[in-house]
Symmetry: D2
């Protein structure tokens, strides 16, 4: 198998850490560079003990452009696991230098710089890059994205919401009106932030809603849903923190209108038949995050409530895999014509 | 302080266990009887180690009527922590013998025996008792309930839903249309069932929806909401299991219509001012189960989403306290004119 | 019941928070003051949501001596839940002002200032106070401690170790040689420190030894054991962090020598008969932290291994209750001749 | 890469489930058979949702010999994930039929049938097979094991204890006297037993010792230690259940005698240099189960306590990987000359 030289910038968060592990064991990847301001100079396996055994003698380097672009590395693809705002600053010079970039931050997920500013509280640093940067849900996005050199990797909540919903909107099973979405996320979704709120004793045995009614990921969810059907879709999105490390479960309620559960499942079947990362469960089942954590799969199911004529749609994924690093690797696989699940089993 | 002789029937589940503890330490209660078929003959403190130190030499007796009604005990109030179907069989002879009964099961929560049969899959064993049995949410129910001798204690999910919603429906802040309710419960809500699904390794680090779209508690939620406004209310209710022992968080989405957030908070203020067990939080806060577990309080908050003109209402309670045994003790306190929080702090 | 005016200084940690709750609901306490530099000016119930419903309108004040000693408060007993080093600074002026002080920090637990310096890395700020400050394990310590005005409350690990061991050493069941002690603590033992190591995602589903071979509590354990038998006792102490919020389980291995298990249990019986906070379990049982968390009880059991002629002694307690705030209240109760378990059930 | 046709018998427990996943994704394995009495006829991916996406259309078959040995399967290697007592019954006919067998149960771990009977409470069903069945710790065992056709895979606790200790005994760093061993295991170690003790609400937020002083694994630990140094070694072993799904942490205290920490680390270095599954950490570190769960690595570290002249040795592993299924695959890899970590990263 050919190997592609890859580098990671920013690996102090949980999705960066997992990405190091995924790339280090990927048979088609030669992980030659890991850059982190915080951990520069340290051996990767010491700084991130969970990847010990995977990264050999690789050391973190400083994320300076001359280091990143050094001919010693000859990195071909950079994965950016950086905070929003910071990613955009790195992407441009890397692209200029002819590199391919997969960005896991929110910086390139929105097409509208106004929306970015409204939700992220700062002007977009490189609005010129937005129009040409595809937002890639591998099972859904048109393959023209493969021609881009900068790819936006979707957010964790949006992935758990868009994968069930997009085929249903596109096939007019749902109108997109009155979508009520509740998501429950493991704590790693908040990153490694040193805040009292994320201490073990605060979050263990605790559950709570947060970020309502206007969590940042709402911008990305609504923009993607709207683009899919060419009209404005507005949803109600209520995220919650659940006392577990990884996993997102999402429950979506939608009016059924004239649609049937059969039609719903047909739309999913049409979109996802043969897609190894999407498991469509029967209407009597509900996805369980424990069945997908550690995998790049998303599970989804739906039921119809005849009392209310609504559909209740449920999904579950690993927020760090299908919701972040795993999906990035899946994108990489498709870009380089590796089998889709390479390095992800 | 006067003391009332109390007995518990059925204490092998989690709410029964907690009820033993609450009654044993209650300064106005003399816990003279604990009956359990499964544990008859065993010392309570051995069979239920979490109540060790509270129950002295009390032994479980068999739940035989001659034992329960023995003059040796002279129990005045029985708390029934029994499965549905079984409770009803015990209630009648106890009432006949002049006892007061607080039932924690579902047997007397519904006024409609048809609804009971539809949701619990069996004819109600004593439909004649239903009309006269009040369903008591102490903060809400009209005090005429105090004249009854048999009280139905509300379910865990319903309490977390009805306490926020009832004042809002009664004050016409909400119409009752299009209520979308998601609840997240700790595993103790499922009782001590020996099923693979409730093993530590299955539930830890796992979250999932279940019982959709027609969980049993839906019958009670809808009947109470409908009775409050004298018209049929139909809701969408999606419960979830969360990896924690105790606690329920509920998130309710409702159209706001012409109502304002101020009106919503006024309705709550009107209903709950001076009620020590209800904490109304500001719109920038969201209740956290960790703040109420171990207490008999429920917390609630609401926010308005101007984008969708909907309210998002959140609540949190301890499913075994305010959602079960604690509320039963609160009912007892009011029945006997003890201060409402006696034995519950 | 008479009520004593009490104040708490330092309540931003977990034991301070619990102490607020315990004192607020204690029928013999009038909690008139809560002081915290970090939270001064905030309503206690807002700053510490877990005590909401207990503290009414009490506000945190600044821990300035003129505030603490203000005649408006007339505090009679101060509970200090402060970091070591800080406690000693507060204790002296409070004593001077005629107040009683129960200190939960390590500052007054050692009699030897040299030992303090060796283990805490700084000279003791008030070595003069050490000789007259009793270290009080209520079940063990000679009641002469009641005459002191400053009391040192034992540490969490030491309580779980000393209560099982002290009677066995005193009765010569154990020689004190070759004691190997392993303790497993919930994360609240580390306090509310904002360190990556205490984030939910780092500690959940994780267990590890730490602080070996010379954890700070070793000084206190060895000094107390040595004082009890008037010769130097040296032990091996290995603490571990376990993925739970509260609770300490301790497992002690000791040579049995000529002693029998019967003699061991007799020594315990002699020490603890009638002591409500100590539960001695049979040799076929092992204490479980889940059975004592939320209570002020410690459970202990022992077995003899005929293959090795050793005893294996196990104990379990709630680190924040019997290991900290609960024991402080127990001391208070004895000081003021309240029944020992007042406010602790 | 060549592929070997493999089959699994017994997959209803946690180590069997993980083994299905490991073998299904192993590039050198063609998993052609999964047998389970309980799940016969069901699709593997439905019966074990955590392996969904790995096992394609494979169905569980009944564990009947004619099915297992059917020429349709042509299984070359059988992995037995069966209860002790049952494994031995399957091993013999499979061996007779010329198959290779890796047994994960306790049935072939002991050389002494008397010891087996003493610890497992029943006569060994096939004592004749014991002498020729190697107990294989891949990093330690002499490679002559590769000539056997039946391999005993070590237990979870023993692996975490023997890997640190065996080199130290063999190199005379430790005498083997006075070894005090404490182990802390995740709940999956108890399997999927439907017992109240393993319910989420019983084990969450709980820690306790169990099985002292004579847990079944003690037989295997002592036999292996004794064989290594050709004299009887007797140890004190105290296992504990910790509130996590996977992982074992072990803490061993041993007299240091004349040995130095340098000598200890040299013995480890000699044994484990170049072994990818063993990570030796420095004396200032302690292994953390969170760093090894999901991997086949074991971490170990040691420190010397000059106060007591003892070593404190710590290790951590994933009980289902290095302690069970992962080690079985590692053995398979070595048997078939695959790189040791194939399918284990």
């Amino acid at each position: 198998m050919k190997t592609i030289k890859c580098g990671i910038i920013g690996a102090s968060g949980y999705s960066g850490e997992l990405l190091v592990k995924l790339l280090a064991r990927h048979p088609g990847v030669d992980l030659v560079l890991a850059a982190s301001r915080k951990m520069a100079g340290r051996k990767v396996a010491d700084a991130l003990p969970t990847v010990r055994g995977y990264t050999g003698d690789l050391n973190f380097v400083a994320p300076e452009m001359e280091v990143l672009l050094s001919p010693d590395n000859s990195v071909e693809v950079f994965f950016l696991a950086l905070p929003h705002g910071v990613s955009a600053e790195f992407a441009e010079p890397l692209l200029q230098a002819g590199k391919r970039v997969i960005d896991l931050s929110a910086d390139f997920r929105l097409f509208s710089p106004e929306l970015y500013e409204a939700y992220y509280g700062q002007p977009h640093p490189r609005p010129d890059l937005l129009p040409a940067t595809p937002y890639v849900l591998p099972e859904i996005s048109s393959p023209v994205w493969k021609e881009a050199n900068l790819i936006a990797c979707p957010g964790c909540y949006p992935t758990s919401i868009l994968l069930p919903l997009l085929p249903l909107l596109k096939e007019s099973v749902l109108s997109g009106e009155d979508l009520i979405i509740n998501s429950l996320s493991g704590i790693s979704g908040a990153g490694k932030k040193l805040a009292e709120n994320f201490l073990f004793c605060e979050r263990s045995e605790s559950i709570k809603a947060y970020g309502i009614p206007r969590h940042r990921h709402l911008s990305e969810i609504e923009e993607q849903l709207s683009l899919a059907v060419n009209r404005e879709i507005v949803v109600q999105f209520s995220p919650h923190l659940a006392p577990m490390r990884r996993g997102i479960a999402t429950t979506i309620v939608s009016p059924a209108g004239e649609s049937t559960l059969e039609a719903l499942y047909e739309a999913w079947e049409k979109a996802y038949a043969g897609k190894p990362m999407v498991s469509v469960l029967g209407p009597a089942e509900t996805p369980d995050t424990a069945h997908v954590v550690g995998t790049n799969r998303i599970e989804m199911a739906a039921t119809h409530d005849p009392r209310t004529n609504r559909f209740v749609i449920t999904s579950a994924e690993d927020n760090l895999m299908k919701g972040a690093g795993g999906q990035a690797v899946q994108i990489f696989n498709l870009w380089y014509d590796f089998p889709e699940e390479t390095g992800l089993l």
